[in-house]
């Protein structure tokens, strides 16, 4: 799969986070859709069919790891690549991602460049394989 021009959905209850990371990824050439709440996320994901969903870990009603776990519970059904997204220690985030079945985790931090490098690395590792 070509890793440029992907459809990325960002799910986060903070509107400024949606705007910042949406703009960063849009400038990378990706198509962005956003959702400001976790509740009822599944129909939105299934109808939009994004290549990758960037999920905030901590949201009211249903957190990011729960969404991944519940989505993956639908064995055999289509699922996008899930990447958890939060402030905090990268090692701890990776552990949470591993436990719930997300492909990876990314830190929200002040260094947008580091975020984009992390994002591109995930794309190369998980989406740049033939047949994916």
């Amino acid at each position: 799969m070509n890793i440029a021009g992907l459809h990325v959905m960002i799910v986060d209850d903070d509107p400024s986070t949606l705007a910042v990371y949406g703009a960063l990824l849009q400038a990378e050439g990706h198509t962005i859709s956003t959702r400001d709440r976790a509740l009822g996320t599944a129909p939105a994901i299934i109808s939009a069919r994004p290549n990758l969903v960037l999920l905030d870990i901590n949201m009211p009603g249903l957190n990011g790891p729960d969404i991944v776990r519940l989505f993956r519970d639908r064995k055999g059904a289509w699922s996008p690549l899930f990447v958890l997204f939060a402030s905090g220690d990268q090692g701890e985030l990776q552990q949470v991602a591993h436990q719930c079945g997300a492909a990876a985790a990314l830190s929200k931090n002040l260094d947008h460049h580091a975020f984009l490098i992390g994002f591109r690395t995930i794309l190369v590792q998980h989406l740049a394989r033939p047949g994916v």
Binding site: A19, Q26, A38, L62, K108
Partner: protein, 268 residues
Amino acid sequence: MVDDQLANLRVLDLMVSRLGYECDCASDGLLAVERFKAGQRYAAVLMDGQMPHLDGYEAARRIRHLCAGEPLRPTIFALTAAPTDAERMKAAEAGMDDFLEKPISMSALRDKLALWVDIPHDGATPIPASALSVPPPQRMDISALRAVKGFDATVLERLARLGRESGEGVADVVVGLVLRELPQQLHAIEEALRTGDREALTRTVHRLTGAARNVGAVELADLCARAERTLHAVAGGYAQIEDGFATPIITEARRVTEVLQGLAGERP
């Protein structure tokens, strides 16, 4: 909820009602389809697979047909014990979305409904559809932030550069969103402190951390991050937040608001 076992329906009715949803019951697939034919619509249908008159799979197929093209697409759950691969395939072909395994636990029911059923907005601020594409009328002079204590001006400067490249006022949009967010979060913190709602306080401080980082308000972000860690890690954290962190957070958030208002040309 559609099940020919009335005891199951009664239990499900209690569980779903306890979660705060309104519900209707039907004792077989045919009756469920009749409800849809009569114009009733539901956010979700919990459908047993094996029922007399019309089984759950065929009922799901007919419901999908009746609702085709409508904006509200009901989520259909198959109620079954340990679904096999063949059952999963059969359910998917019938247009069912997910499974709820019998016996259904309260936590599984709560989580699955939360994942699939969109609840009308509870006051959180949605990002306007135009936020990523329409430049605001006036561009800010972000370089003024370099001299302001507690800010990392490079955060908004980078976003402003993105804006220049794409012709969109990204930094302006982000400042506008944070300015709208800050008074709401300050009110929420004061309310959580007043009522002693630790969960609400943790959630609000977490959200404020993100908003502060997004505009490079590093001092506010650090204060909030420390408060978050305390709330998560220490049993008596709530008192420490109230005594040690709440006042500095509120004071700094008000200062950040004034700085951003000045930047955006709004009168404090």
